[in-house]
Amino acid sequence: MHKTEIIEKVAGLWPEIVMLIGATACLFIGLSKGKGPRRSTPWIAALTLALAALVVCKRGDAGEQALALTGIAHYIKLAVAGVGLILLMVAAGVPNRLRQTLDAEAAREFEPGDVMTGEFYAFFLLSLTGVMLTAGAGDLVWLFLALELTSLPTYVMVATSRDRIEAQESAIKYFFLGALSAAIFLYGFALIYGATGSTEFAEITRIAQEQIAANNNNVPGLLLMGIVLSVVGVCFKIAAVPMHFYAADVYEGAATPVTAFLAFVPKTAGAVALILLLSLVGWPLPAPIASLIWLIAVLTMTVGNVLGLLQNNVKRVLAYSSVAHSGYILVGLLAGPAVNQAAGGALGDGIAAVLFYLVAYGLGTIASFAVLGCLRAGDREAQTYQHISGIHKKHPFLAALMLISVLSLVGLPPLVGFLGKVYLIGSAYGAGFIGLVIILVLNSAISAAYYLRIASACYFGEPDETVHSAGMFGRTAGALIAATLAIVLGVMGNGLVNASRNATAPAMQAAAPAPAPQVQFSTAK
């Protein structure tokens, strides 16, 4: 690697550098003795995110040329910074409230100095940095490190989010399974390296193409094995079958705002990593890989939705719903960019659909978790249908937000989730996966049953006396913003659709003149 190249790469990493500086600042200020500076950490984190978003916007056109997948990285960085701000509003206060969950005896021993505000926000920022780096990855090692940077802080966040044994249990489960998945995809990366002799995406793509061409248009075994293992390993991040087992337990154990974080951030990183990995062999995907993704997509949708139906705990329901949404996202990944179609609107581009859907799903799911996080049942978190039952009577505002978010998740027009479905289905048709479309719509119908149960509980149920609002302004505001965006982006979705479309445009341009339907994302030589 040339020296100048490294400098260029670093120059493209300004948003991440800003995030790292912010994280470090949070870490240090969080250690200070005075309460005032410690209290300022969430504001520092917010400032950092805003600054990072600004830097992404400013440096959007120039400076990032050295990186692969410029457009997608740009989009994801901006989306992560933006949604990160909402997540921060939702999560703010998690560490402060920790001690309130203790029983009376322990509460007497409560020391304000114990409140560990700083680390939480530092880990929060670090994990988001990981997603940004994932999006900008141009190299297998980089990708691995970025994915791990996304996940490692979340283990700590889960463990420290609640002062209960469940949180620790979740964290341990999450950590071990996460480590296992990391081992699997690292093995996959190693095999890819073994097959092609390079870790750089551009180089791998070139060699893989040659090998495929030399091998009667079949993917050679070692490369295939590598890709399959990587994909299956990364499936852990997006909680897709067969790596979905942790989702319900971990989501249930973590504090609700942290669950919202888990449902969006690692999933985004995983989806982007899958885009990168699959682009190594290009779309239309070679038959064995396409079948694998098809199978994973169908299983993920169906398993997620069916198990979601059977739950009584709303957090577990939303966890399985998040599994199901990963299945929808995989449909877009399978369809891939619209290589053999003339430029005629954004529909038909699966990758753009995935980028759009990530945001659409993120808004709905964050809003619903945030509403759940606003409620407390006695001194515990509100978690079951019983707890959210009849909240309409006491908290009509929260009930309305919950209604909007579940309707967006179910894909009811005109909310943003519906546009996401239009986008995904358009791309699936464009790539000829008609059966998959039917499975997708049937799954949406199944999912309506449990989303509706949430809405019914909120609106028609009898209130549970122990449930009260946690009265957290930031969290309510976060839910409000996410739900409002779900409406606004649904009715006026032009901006986001164009952004997602433009994000994949460089890839389209690179692909268009190529005679083989092969996508080459890299602009660097």
Binding site: G344, A346, L347, P413, P414, G426, Y429, G430, L440, V441
Partner: protein, 550 residues
């Protein structure tokens, strides 16, 4: 670009928003009610302006059109416009709404603000389905009508409301998801032929004409999945009686009056022009289910003990005629024109019957036929109105039901032998007799016979039975007038419907006749080109194109 239709559509929901704001004045029942009444009356006024601006000489063309940007990159827009079919259905909606509000003053006691909010919000989405010229705009409104009604049933319904709301939502949502897949398929076909993504209904007609019969059959199946549930056609009607009986009166009137018509409207607007050959091929099946629906549910009506359930089942039975007429494809469009008129008539007469039953329920808190009889002698005004609407519903000549029911049967009778035929008309005709039996049986039990009055629960706590008050008479009077006028002078409406209905059934009729000039087939009999009278379909066989692409 004309903004009138946009105004009509958006006005209700915008005017409903203040109801959810913390305004003290709206805590008073009368204020909220008057506000809702005002809002719906203004909407009605706007729609009358639309009627006056509508050029009946060109009733078949989309008028007062316009479009609001939505997602350009998808080719999505909020395109709107009306032909006379949409016009009449729009008018039906805006006409029914003030009446419903008028009738609801004492029907709701809790969460009154929300009740009117969802009621008025629902109007926006019902109107949206009728004015949409963009298929996703249509679909948006079609789907979103579920949410307000879901809440109206779930919050304001009677004892088993939760189950009713859930069944209603899931049943219709599942069907319409499949419809969505079908619609997207047509859009995709359009993309293959034109290289553009467009959701404009007119363009999709053109694209759909190029589909092979198999593709058309699948699309028809997908469309039927959503629309047949909504209508509802016989085997998938089971959600309706439950929803009707549990819904508050206002919900029932809207459901019977307008929402069921979304299904038949969808069949007419999309299924007929988009998959004409499949319609011809499978008309017998749809016809059989329609006739079965007419007969079986008529028999079910006969054994009902709950008056509201009886009327609910009678809706299913009546809409069977409507579906039969739609798929008749006879040369003069008698069936389809009759069907469209039937949609309006059924909305008026059945809506009115639900209102009548609601008034009785408010007094007695029961709807059991066994508990009441001879009411004609106790509350004669109510009884007169009820008998009047029952007769309209049965199809007494001179009232509106007769004209349309007769036309749909004639349509089925005249239908080409490869579509429907006289046997369908004959069997469905028996349904008319059954309808007379079960409705008059109900009238005989409840209104005539020895006087038997259940316990009366008035709002003020008193227990004397009062006949209809001025407000209630004012609620029913416009509907009665409507039934009479449309019964005596149906000609204007029928003639205005001919042109647009003709346009929509044209492709189907051509496919039914298989005239050599209209449908060209290749050696295997696969239709290659469908030439419509004013527009030649340029692209022909996308299957061939796609094969070449591969």
């Amino acid at each position: 670009m004309d903004y009138l239709l946009l105004l009509i559509t958006v006005f209700p929901i915008v005017s409903a928003l203040p109801l959810m704001l913390p305004i003290k004045a709206f805590d008073c029942r009368k204020t909220v009610w008057s506000y809702a009444l005002l809002s719906t009356l203004v909407t009605f006024l706007f729609s009358l302006i639309a009627v006056f601006n509508f050029d009946f000489a060109h009733a078949g063309a989309m008028q007062l059109t316009g479009s609001v940007r939505w997602v350009d990159a998808f080719g999505l827009s909020f395109g709107y416009g009306i032909d006379s079919i949409s016009l009449w259905l729009m008018l039906l909606t805006t006409f029914l709404m003030p009446i419903i509000v008028l009738g609801s003053l004492t029907a709701v006691n809790t969460r009154i603000r929300e009740f009117y909010f969802w009621l008025i919000a629902l109007e926006t989405f019902m109107l949206g389905t009728f004015v949409a010229t963009d298929i996703i705009f249509f679909y948006l409104c079609f789907e979103f009508t579920l949410v307000p009604l879901y809440i109206l049933i779930g919050v304001f319904g009677s004892s088993d409301r939760l189950r009713a709301a859930k069944v209603f939502f899931l049943y219709t949502f599942t069907g319409s998801m499949l419809t969505f897949a079908g619609v997207m398929y047509v859009v995709y076909i359009n993309h293959l032929t034109t290289r553009e993504w467009s959701f404009n209904i007119q363009e999709l007609y053109t694209a759909a004409a190029g589909m092979s019969v198999t593709e058309q059959a699948w699309v028809l199946g997908a469309l039927m999945a959503g629309f047949a549930v909504k209508v509802p056609i016989f085997p998938v009607h089971t959600w309706l009686p439950l929803a009707h009986t549990e819904a508050p009166t206002a919900g029932s009137v809207i459901l019977a009056g307008v929402l069921l018509k979304l299904g038949t409207y969808g069949l007419l607007r999309f299924a007929l022009p988009m998959c004409p050959e499949a319609v011809v091929e499978y008309a017998w099946l749809i016809g059989i289910f329609a006739v079965l629906g007419v007969l079986v549910t008529a028999l079910i009506c006969w054994v009902q003990t709950d008056v509201k359930k009886l009327i609910a089942y009678s809706s299913v039975s009546h809409l069977g005629f409507c579906v039969l007429g739609l798929f008749a494809l006879d040369a003069d469009n008698t069936g389809a024109v009759g069907s469209v008129m039937y949609m309006i008539n059924h909305g008026l007469s059945t809506g009115a019957l639900f209102l009548c039953i609601g008034m009785i329920y408010e007094r007695f808190h029961t709807r059991e036929m066994a508990k009441m009889s001879g009411l004609g002698r106790v509350i004669p005004v109510w009884a007169s109105f009820t008998v009047f609407f029952v007769l309209a519903s049965v199809g007494l000549p001179g009232l509106n039901g007769f004209v349309s029911e007769f036309l749909t049967l004639i349509g089925a009778f005249l239908s080409p032998s490869n579509v429907l035929g006289f046997e369908y008309a004959a069997f469905a005709g028996m349904g008319m007799i059954f309808a007379a039996i079960y409705l008059l049986y109900m009238v005989g039990k409840v209104i005539f016979g020895p006087v038997k009055v259940p316990d009366v629960h008035n709002e003020d706590g008193s227990h004397d039975l009062k006949d209809l008050n001025g407000r209630e008479i004012l609620t029913l009077l416009p509907l009665a007038a409507g039934c009479l006028i449309l019964g005596l002078f149906p000609y204007n409406m029928l003639s205005s419907l001919e042109a647009p209905v003709g346009k929509l059934t044209q492709a189907g009729k051509a496919a039914a006749l298989q005239e050599p000039g209209l449908v060209q087939t290749d050696a295997n009999g696969t239709p290659l080109r469908l030439v419509l009278d004013d527009q030649a379909v340029t692209n022909v066989n996308p299957t061939a194109d796609r094969a070449a692409e591969r």
